[in-house]
């Protein structure tokens, strides 16, 4: 069965861009902008709480590591639609891709804001400087390549708007390669974001340090990808007063649950094989965070156990949020809570540091709203769409 197109073609949403929501978002972005000026004039220490015991704070762990994971909607949906040929998910592609595009571009921007000697950033791509044994080298190159690939993948939307049909046709010839790269590259870097931790050795608590880190991060990235698609669909529906494509989302959630189950099996078998079971029951903050993280991973399996629950948008939304939070916690726990370079060090993000991360999220949402209003991204709404989706 080929990808079916029995749904309306994407169309700009239209409507006013300036709403109370966008004004607040713009304000948050502006605040973050001012803080960044201070950062560039006075150094990272002037606005963040990072220190030599915790050289990576939320700008790396949230904006880059988690931000990019949350941006895996495009990856997960592309995998389903173009590799497993589940054409019925096709309408989700453009919005998912857009969210991914923003998420990754901002994650890339987040890296640039965090680098101490950012003017040398091109060294990472330059032969002679590039150190290919470094996990970070591979992460940086793959993420950059992926951002480029996504902009190309997304270009049909621009090309349509500006009526450049010739270019679009030429592009279509190579689309399969772009799509293949769009699945390969995130597989590589999302797993490697986990591999980053391997060199830290004993500094990562045994509850998270394992040679299977790339696999765990990859599986959660995929699962989060699906969760994010559900999450954003609910948000769009609510925000733009559009109907939800329940059947699709219900089916998507099943895929998500299978991925989640596989992940949990790998996670716990690994813990048992490594002999880390004892660590699961010590009285420490790490253990508490571990259990909260895994409770959130298990929650969607409970919430969406029955087929009826998978037709309930409220439950779908809650389950998606739980999974996103779980993935968020896996990364916070492995990079920050479970990281200790030595006793005596403390870290909690400062107010300006948090405001910058919030500003980045605000920018992402703002950009998303702008683009869906002016470009053909979301599927057009008609009565037949509702009937057709039954």
């Amino acid at each position: 069965m080929s990808a079916s197109h029995n749904h309306p073609a994407p169309a700009p949403l239209g409507g006013s861009f300036v709403t109370p929501t966008t004004v607040i978002l713009a304000l948050l972005v502006a605040i973050a902008g001012v803080i960044m000026l201070v950062r560039f004039f006075f150094g990272l220490g002037a606005v963040t709480n990072i220190n030599d015991g915790y050289p990576w704070g939320i700008w790396v762990v949230y904006d880059v590591v988690i931000g990019s994971a949350f941006a895996c909607g495009g990856y997960s949906v592309a995998l389903l639609v173009y590799i497993f040929n589940k054409g019925e998910y096709h309408p989700m592609v453009r919005p998912a891709l857009l969210a991914s595009l923003f998420g990754y571009t901002l994650a890339g921007a987040g890296v640039m804001l965090d680098l101490g000697r950012y003017w040398n950033f091109w060294h990472i791509f330059w032969p002679g400087y590039a150190q290919v044994n470094s996990v970070m080298f591979e992460v940086a190159v793959c993420i950059t390549a992926y951002i480029v690939v996504m902009w190309i993948e997304f270009s049909p939307a621009f090309l349509e708007k500006f009526g450049m049909k010739n270019v679009k046709r030429k592009l279509n010839k190579f689309l399969f390669l772009i799509i293949a790269l769009g699945v390969l590259l995130p597989s590589m870097h999302q797993s490697s974001l986990g591999s980053l931790l391997v060199v830290f050795g004993y500094q990562i608590h045994p509850l998270w340090q394992t040679m299977l880190l790339p696999l765990l991060f990859l599986m959660t990235a995929l699962a989060i990808g699906f969760a994010v698609v559900i999450f954003e669909a609910c948000l769009s529906s609510s925000g733009f007063k559009r109907p939800l494509e329940m059947q699709l989302l219900g089916k998507l959630s099943k895929v998500m649950l299978w991925m989640l189950t596989a992940y949990l099996i790998v996670r716990f078998v690994d813990l048992i094989v490594r002999g880390a079971v004892g660590s699961m029951f010590e009285l420490r903050i790490e253990t508490l965070m571990f259990w909260i993280e895994n409770a959130l991973f298990i929650a969607p399996l409970v919430i969406l156990a029955s087929p009826q629950s998978r037709r309930n948008p409220s439950k779908l939304f809650i389950a998606a949020v739980c999974l996103m939070l779980a993935g968020f916690l896996l990364r916070i726990d492995s990079f920050l809570v479970g990281y200790e370079t030595g006793p005596g060090w403390h870290y909690f993000p400062s107010v300006p540091e948090i405001m910058v991360s919030i500003g980045m999220i605000a920018l992402e949402i703002l950009g998303y709203i702008a683009l869906v209003r002016y470009l053909p991204i979301l599927p057009g709404t008609t009565e037949s769409a509702i009937a057709g989706n039954k």
Partner: protein, 387 residues
């Protein structure tokens, strides 16, 4: 009127006449002595009274294997001066260096003083006592040092060893110690109070004597008999160059830049870190600032310590007996980094709360829509299929 003012005190007036100094100078002298010994306030008054009223105690002073440096050191004392001490505060009944008499006359004077003050005189020993070959390497008036010491110590109220030689063997005991030089305490077979130093600061000795005079007993001593007021701390703990040690500034050669600047002399072999004495506090010779070896630029040789002075080379590095790192010395674990500020916690909580609230509202609304949508769908289906 203050009962300690001694204004109309008869004995005080007599003392003034006797010592030829004003009451004020005398009281100042007592105060200085009390301060040296670290005695509480009011002690100087007791001292003054004791000196003024008590009968001058008899002192027998023996010299054995010594260079007479300890006596010479006392000669340079200012408060009181030695002549005041020997003429007016104590009754020096035997002292080979200061005696006008000599020979059998001197020995006879000693024996009669000992008889007259039996059980009440103070015996001071200067110099080590040779013990090899029955002690023949030091004889006075045909008597070996060992015999003389034992004889004099038998009826003494107290025995004090002055100087390193009599305190622990001193220079004569330098390995290989050919004469078998020993301390007075070792010869007598007991720990006796001793004032080590080569020479010791005279005020350490004088304060000890006046303490005895005032309170009828000697001041507190440590486990090897050294008065704690002078020998309980290491020179390193009190040294005026300690800051240089702590900052790592050392003189590396005599006369180099660091030496000229008064840097720490540890690398030149200063034994301050393993020597107990109060030199940096009271200095020598009453000539003012830095009048002690380290102050003049020469490393301490540890002259009060057995096993250090004359045994360890002057250039050899000292072992640190105690290092009290200054308060700012970094510990293995220091608290670093900023934890959660109140503002950050509030902000994080606010964000979490807002997100949770929005999420809950969204979930509720989605629930409503579903019911609505399902309702709509059923209606439409019913419309299409009336049956």
């Amino acid at each position: 009127m203050n009962e300690n003012s001694f204004e109309n005190d008869e004995s005080m007036l007599a003392l003034e006449k006797r010592l030829g100094i004003s009451r004020r100078s005398f009281l100042q002298m007592c105060a200085a002595m009390a301060a040296t010994m670290g005695l509480p306030k009011g002690a100087e008054a007791a001292m003054a009274k004791a000196v003024a009223t008590k009968k001058r105690p008899s002192v027998i002073w023996l010299h054995f294997q010594e260079c007479t440096g300890c006596t010479e050191s006392l000669l340079r004392a200012e408060h009181p001066t030695l002549e005041k001490l020997i003429l007016d505060v104590i009754s020096l009944d035997y002292h080979e260096t200061l005696f006008a008499a000599a020979g059998h006359q001197a020995e006879a004077a000693r024996k009669s003083a000992m008889k007259a003050n039996k059980g009440k005189y103070l015996l001071v020993v200067e110099g080590a006592i040779p013990t090899r070959d029955n002690g023949i390497y030091c004889k006075v008036g045909g008597q070996t040092a060992i015999e003389m010491l034992k004889e004099c110590a038998a009826d003494a109220a107290a025995v004090i060893a002055i100087g390193s030689c009599s305190s622990w063997g001193g220079m004569p005991s330098t390995p290989p110690n050919p004469t078998g030089a020993k301390s007075a305490g070792e010869v007598l077979g007991k720990v006796i109070p001793n004032i080590p130093g080569c020479p010791p600061n005279p005020y350490n000795f004088l304060s000890t004597v006046v303490h005895f005079l005032t309170f009828g007993k000697l001041p507190d001593v440590d486990d090897i008999g050294r008065p704690k007021f002078a020998y309980s701390r290491l020179i390193h703990e009190n040294c005026e160059r300690r800051a240089h040690f702590d900052a790592g500034r050392f003189a590396l050669e005599f006369g180099d830049e660091g030496h000229k600047r008064g840097y720490c002399l540890y690398k030149l072999g200063c034994k301050g870190p393993e020597t107990h004495a109060n030199c940096p506090a009271i200095l020598f010779g009453d000539v003012g600032n830095a009048s002690w070896p380290v102050g003049t630029g020469h490393p301490c040789i540890g002259c009060t310590e057995k096993g250090i002075a004359f045994a360890k080379p002057i250039h050899a590095l000292a072992e640190l007996k105690s290092v009290r790192p200054p308060a700012g010395f970094p510990g293995i674990i220091e608290d670093q980094g900023k934890g959660a500020s109140t503002g950050a916690l509030i902000l994080a909580a606010a964000v979490a709360g807002a997100a949770a609230g929005a999420g809950a509202m969204m979930a509720k609304n989605l629930g409503k829509n579903v019911k609505l949508d399902e309702g709509d769908a059923h209606k439409k289906q019913a419309e299409r299929n009336p049956s």
